[in-house]
Amino acid sequence: MSVLIKCESLSKIYDQEETKVTALNNVSLTINEGEFVSLVGPSGSGKSTLLNLIGALDTPTSGKVTVDGVNLAVLSKSQLSDLRLNNISFVFQAYNLIPVLSARENVEFVMELQGVSPKERKERSIAILEEVGLKGLESRRPSQLSGGQQQRVAVARAVVTKPRLLLADEPTANLDSNTARNLVSLMREMNEKLGITFIFSTHDPIVMEFARRIIKLRDGAISEDIKS
């Protein structure tokens, strides 16, 4: 397996009024292609911060993030946008979907930004929605879907573009355990089928159950790195 992500001595310090908060403190790690990784830790441990840095949503105070051999620090904002568009997908805890678009249109959204033809977009989005168990719900708007269904749409959108990397920030936080289990199981299936690298930030033991590698964070640093 080749190295997809390399973090070297990453630190992130936030200025908050009169204090400085160290969200990440000198974190180094390597993630290979195809891994199913869970970042776990209490609130404030730096999970989301690490995810944001890997996902090119934020820039480190010091250190380096390399994705597929490319140092993110040398990329412009536009290039980082392109990187996210073409190589990295996201599933967030909430507010994933665009409310005025239907389930199918939400899934098509990123493909449309990529310039995929309307015919292909439609075919792929219908196929992926069927795969995630939402056949027949393509034309429903997010407000007409349950929380679990919305997250499935978000997963469908995230994987339909066949990204190298999928980052999920507490994707099961607002779901009941049954729904959460189904969702994570689906993601694991996508990981195995499509070879997409998954990195979760989570407190949820259900997610940890499915993870093949658990990286524990505390106070902005890695305390444990467990591979199963």
Binding site: N52, G55, L57, D58, K77, S78, S81, D82, R84, L85, N86, S89, F90, F92, Y95, N96, I98, P99, V100, L101, E105, F109, V110, E112, L113, Q114, R157
Partner: protein, 407 residues
């Protein structure tokens, strides 16, 4: 449909009440601007039409010095058929030869200063108001008719009536005082009372004989089918008759043109004020809308939507609000023309309006340039003002936006 257009249109209707209020404000602003401009243009164009119909015509020909001193001695001999012939490349609706001098009109009880106008009644049809006929009595039959036609208001001032005799006193072509009696055969009604007081009409040959003019005339007045060709007509006539004084109606009626120019400036200022006021509403709506969607924008940028495209999405939303409001406002303005097609009655203000040369009835006038100016200004100023909320939206940081902490 490109995603930006689809998102922009649907986002407008996320909060229908707010969008409808904004569109309503734009519509009312546009409607007020076009209504005011159409009424203002109705006033000024009506004034111009009245001036043109009030014996001025589109072009007049006089002997040199006549305009400074409109005496009978300043007469000339050019026939209307020659004029028509010289202007054969332009469509001439009517040409009239007239005798016109100041005079005093006396009844048995009063005397008034007037303009004596000797006409051929046939050539005045389609040219001036007197060609439309009289409200009492008879029109002049031809240019040899011995009768006189006076205005209704003049009749009241002179305390006389149809059928009575009046006396005209004036100076003839030799600058001798001459007088003659005329029987009132007809009374005319005009849009302005000042016109009814100012002019009296006799047959042209009768006037020529009265003033010892032989074939001389004081003026030629002509009307073109296309008012835009006035300058071309002037240029042609000046080449043909270089010794004559040839003027367009806007030189002869400078107040009308001055009023139009003032109006042009006033309307632009009015449009600007209305549009800026309306734009504040649009800006407010869009600021609220972008603030409410901060998280959504954060997610979209996280997924790879570039700030420029986000800016264009919000700008397109603003453009849609502006265009919908503009269309409704213009439609409401267009309905004015049906509702006000009979004109607005200003008789309550008649005395004041007459002082300024306006008639009692104002018919709103559609001037395409005004509507285009208003529409273009609205879109341009509206878009410029909504760049701020669009820019603000595009500057949201994805991380802080998604977390709900804002910029």
């Amino acid at each position: 449909m490109p995603i930006i257009l689809k998102l922009a249109f649907r986002n407008i209707w996320r909060n229908p009440k707010r969008s409808l209020i904004t569109i309503g404000a734009i519509s009312i602003g546009v409607w007020s601007a076009v209504t005011l401009s159409s009424i203002a243009r109705g006033l000024s164009y009506g004034m111009a039409d009245d001036a043109i119909n009030n014996l001025v015509g589109h072009v007049q020909i006089h002997a040199p010095k006549y305009l400074d001193d409109p005496a009978a001695e300043f007469n000339f001999n050019i026939s209307s058929s020659i004029v028509r012939d010289r202007l054969s490349s332009l469509k001439v609706r009517a040409v009239a030869e007239r005798v016109r001098v100041p005079a005093v009109l006396l009844s048995e009880r009063e005397s008034v200063g007037v303009n004596l106008v000797g006409i051929d009644p046939q050539t005045e049809k389609s040219l001036s108001f007197i060609g439309d006929g009289v409200s009492e009595g008879l029109e002049l039959m031809d240019q040899k008719d011995p009768g006189i036609i006076i205005g209704k208001r003049l009749k009241e001032i002179l305390k006389t009536k149809l059928g009575n005799r009046v006396v005209l006193v004036t100076q003839d072509s030799n600058n001798s005082i001459v007088d003659r009696g005329f029987r009132i055969v007809g009374v005319f009604d005009a849009k302005l009372e000042s016109t009814e007081k100012a002019f009296v009409f006799v047959g042209r040959e009768v006037a020529q004989s009265f003033l010892n003019l032989e074939d001389g005339i004081s003026e030629i007045s002509l009307k073109l089918e296309d008012a835009e060709m006035v300058d071309a007509a002037i240029a042609t006539l000046k080449m043909e008759f270089p010794e004559m004084e040839i003027d367009s109606w806007y030189v002869l009626e400078p107040l009308v043109i001055a009023l139009r120019k003032v109006q042009d400036g006033f309307l632009i200022i009015w449009f600007f004020i209305v549009i800026v006021s309306v734009s504040f509403g649009v800006v407010n709506t869009q600021l609220m809308s972008t603030f409410e969607r901060m998280r959504e924008f954060g997610v979209m940028m996280a997924l790879g939507l570039k700030p420029k495209r986000l800016l264009s999405m919000v700008t397109v939303e603003s453009l849609m609000l502006l265009v919908i409001g503009l269309s409704m406002g213009n439609l409401m303005g267009a309905m004015n023309f049906f509702i006000l097609s009979d004109g607005i009655d200003l008789s309550t203000f008649a005395a004041a309006s007459e002082q300024l040369g306006f008639g009692k009835i104002v018919i709103p006038r559609f001037i395409a340039r005004d509507w285009i100016q208003c529409s273009v200004l609205l879109v341009v100023i509206g878009l410029i003002s909504t760049l701020y909320p669009a820019w603000k939206g595009s500057r949201y940081d994805p991380v802080t936006s998604i977390s709900g902490r804002g910029v």
